[in-house]
Symmetry: C2
Subunit: 145 residues, 2 copies
DNA sequence: AACCAATTGTAGCCTTGGCTAAGTTTTTTG
DNA sequence: CAAAAAACTTAGCCAAGGCTACAATTGGTT
């Protein structure tokens, strides 16, 4: 049980887990932004800087800086003083994120978590769910329904 | 369905969710460090800077800077060139985090996620689980067992 | 057309959490 | 017990994501 190889395995999984968390946090902002931009365009016809600021609860200056990064990384296109658009790459990511988001919310509700808490917790949890776990979530929620 | 009050509620929950995520990320490092320090002391008798660096997969310089902050915030005590200790406040937090971590891992396994993936995903998920959801996780895993 | 309010942009600041590189101290080892 | 290795500290750099304050642009109102 307490063999060296066992301990090494635990150690290896441990640091891999933290590495995975750091990676998730690096893509998190891009994921939330593209999802929100897609939602806003679907709901209101356009996504403006003020809308994003209000949705995320941050200042417009923060949104502006983030948009500049997402533009540089190829997720968003933006012209000065005009509303925001997603690139095909950004759209694809938005769809995947929306789907994942909904699976997580649905799953949490299906194990008895209230709608509000499910929404609140899902916004963070969604970024730390591997494909395997996502599949398990989807399967469970579907069976439960 | 698409009444204004409904839309305002959605909007309110939305920004509250992102605020909750930002808060979780602010306490995350402290939580992971105190838990790890407690684990190392339990397993090896002491927690050293190199141990933490290897466990988290970061450099010892990064650990050092973080420890300085945790000291300032009252979670850790440290004397130069000596191993690290938790304050009572740090110990209390470590226990809560360890318990929460185990609940999350156990829950993921109970819905069919493999042991390795459960460990990997739990390290991030744990910080985004509210008390209500944690209770639901614990209840489900217990029932399933 | 001119003005004013709203929106967007930009500069500069802060904190966190990464890193490398170089200097100290402690511990081990020959 | 001296030298080498290991561990620790410190300084300085970077990127991300917050903020405030101020400047520029747009768009609606009169
Ligand atoms: Mn999210
Ligand atoms: Mn989301
Ligand atoms: Mn963690
Ligand atoms: Mn997170």
């Amino acid at each position: 049980m307490a063999t060296p190889s066992n301990k090494n395995l635990r150690t290896e999984v441990r640091s891999a887990a933290f590495e995975q968390v750091r990676e998730a946090h690096q893509t998190e902002t891009a994921e939330d932004y593209v999802e929100m931009i897609a939602d806003l365009i679907a709901e209101k016809g356009e996504a403006r800087v003020v809308d994003l600021a209000s949705a995320f609860g941050v200042t417009h200056a923060t949104v502006n800086k983030t948009i500049a990064r997402l533009n540089k990384e190829g997720f968003v296109t933006n012209e000065k003083y005009r509303s925001l658009f997603l690139t095909p790459k950004g759209q694809k990511m938005a769809e995947a994120c929306k789907s994942r988001h909904e699976i997580v919310v649905g799953f949490l509700k299906s194990i008895g978590v209230s709608a509000r808490t499910a929404e609140l917790d899902a916004e963070g949890v969604e970024h730390h769910i591997s494909p395997e776990t996502l599949k398990a979530f989807a399967a469970f929620a579907k069976k439960k329904k």
